[in-house]
Symmetry: C2
Subunit: 302 residues, 2 copies
Amino acid sequence: MGVYTIGIDLGGTNMRVALIKDGTTIVRKEEQATETQKGAADAIARMISMVDAVDPERKASAIGIGSAGPLDLDNGIILKTPNLVGWEGTPIVELMRQGTGREVYLNNDANVAGLAEAVFGGGKGCKSSVFITVSTGVGGGIVVNGHLLEGAYGYGGEIGCMIVADDDRKHDSLYAGTLESLCSGSALNLQAQKVYGPGTNAAYIFEQYAQNDMAAMGIIELWLEHFSRGLASVMQVIDPEVFVIGGSVVLHNPWLLEKLPEHIQPKVYEGLRDKINLRLPELGGDAGLIGAAYLAHPDYLN
Amino acid sequence: MGVYTIGIDLGGTNMRVALIKDGTTIVRKEEQATETQKGAADAIARMISMVDAVDPERKASAIGIGSAGPLDLDNGIILKTPNLVGWEGTPIVELMRQGTGREVYLNNDANVAGLAEAVFGGGKGCKSSVFITVSTGVGGGIVVNGHLLEGAYGYGGEIGCMIVADDDRKHDSLYAGTLESLCSGSALNLQAQKVYGPGTNAAYIFEQYAQNDMAAMGIIELWLEHFSRGLASVMQVIDPEVFVIGGSVVLHNPWLLEKLPEHIQPKVYEGLRDKINLRLPELGGDAGLIGAAYLAHPDYLN
């Protein structure tokens, strides 16, 4: 018969809803633009319709939502978040429960992607894994013994907030010296514009790097130094069996993962130097949906 | 009747063995100098005698050892460690098991102290806690849902290895920019000698600080900045309900904990700014013994 659950991936740009069988098989999927400016009520009404559309026979009795955060996990509420402006205070779990008549579970988008990769993807078979996504921002999710390390207030796994360097710059809401402010795609875009002028971006840095441009080589060397500081710290605080590292910056430049170990090694205990295990994600763009659905899966709940 | 276990606190200077009842009551305690230079076999033979001395009636069927590390927890072996020179490769768990005829459990000293404080001390009643000790070095232990986060290779909770700053200095084996190299008692001793000359130490800095000496105020301000970076990172990666912070540097200057929140606040998400919970340890010098004994306690093993 199989076990069915519904996964919802709620982002600032798009929202996707899928009926998923036995953890990873996407039976049916719907996608719409979130159109956050129309407000939470409008989007939630459409999400409820999408749930009915992917599962008209009500095979799934429970839904998992991976949402842009921060979130109040205890109460199922969206907090102030840059990606869902104006949605602050929305009791999304209660609204979806009432609207669909199903159990609803919530966690943040990087956490559920990390959960999916830990259980079914790059971290499969490992007892503990740390997922890091390097795209617009730097996000993460920590899974130990098959469960998310949510933290006391839902801030577990916010790897991008780790402070790894001195830094007098303060741009936007990113705190100076954090992994996000130094290593994210946005940070690389800013560096490109500073070095190469308006209109250039992170991709341009990597193009220049491929042509042995000195400035680009300096930027990438510094990226490796800063990112390896974060990984070294996590190796000696969480000590996961594996890191699964994705996001557009890494997926477009997977060779970064091959360069990192030599930067990590001098920063960790001798006994960890041959234990550096960095893998790419394996589930592609569906990790968020699969991880969200897994929040509601009996194997996760028990 | 009560539940009896034996705790052993094995350090580079002293080793202590206690029979402990119901988790925290020290029934009988023995202490000897470790005399590491006489070798592991000599010290282990004496530890076995001390076990018999504290529990001649064999009330305890199991022993927990908190040892200076790093350790190979899976195989119960002491790895290369600066505090037990020459003991590398000692299968301490097997030797103690054979010598005492009791079950033996092993973990590192900061971890077991953190476990004791989490369950019975400053973190009592909290679901998750991070213990940090700031003395000669900076060590730590992470407890989530009553269990140590040991990590895949036994390096979980090595908070002192977190890299929080740029730093061109490399002294001893401490990697530049780590919390240990910036905030430990040893680091403060080095800074004192640099600023105030030979023979001065960390305590002298704090004396000068109390007299509003500008150099001392600068050193302490930097200590607060660096230490708060580490705490902010941990708050957003582990997100514990409480930090228990001890070690001689903090215990002699407990007002440091009152100064830290204002340094942490700008470095964490808005939702965490009123959740900064820093407490002093409550178990004093017996935390290591109590935590070691708890490794072997039925409540911990089940």
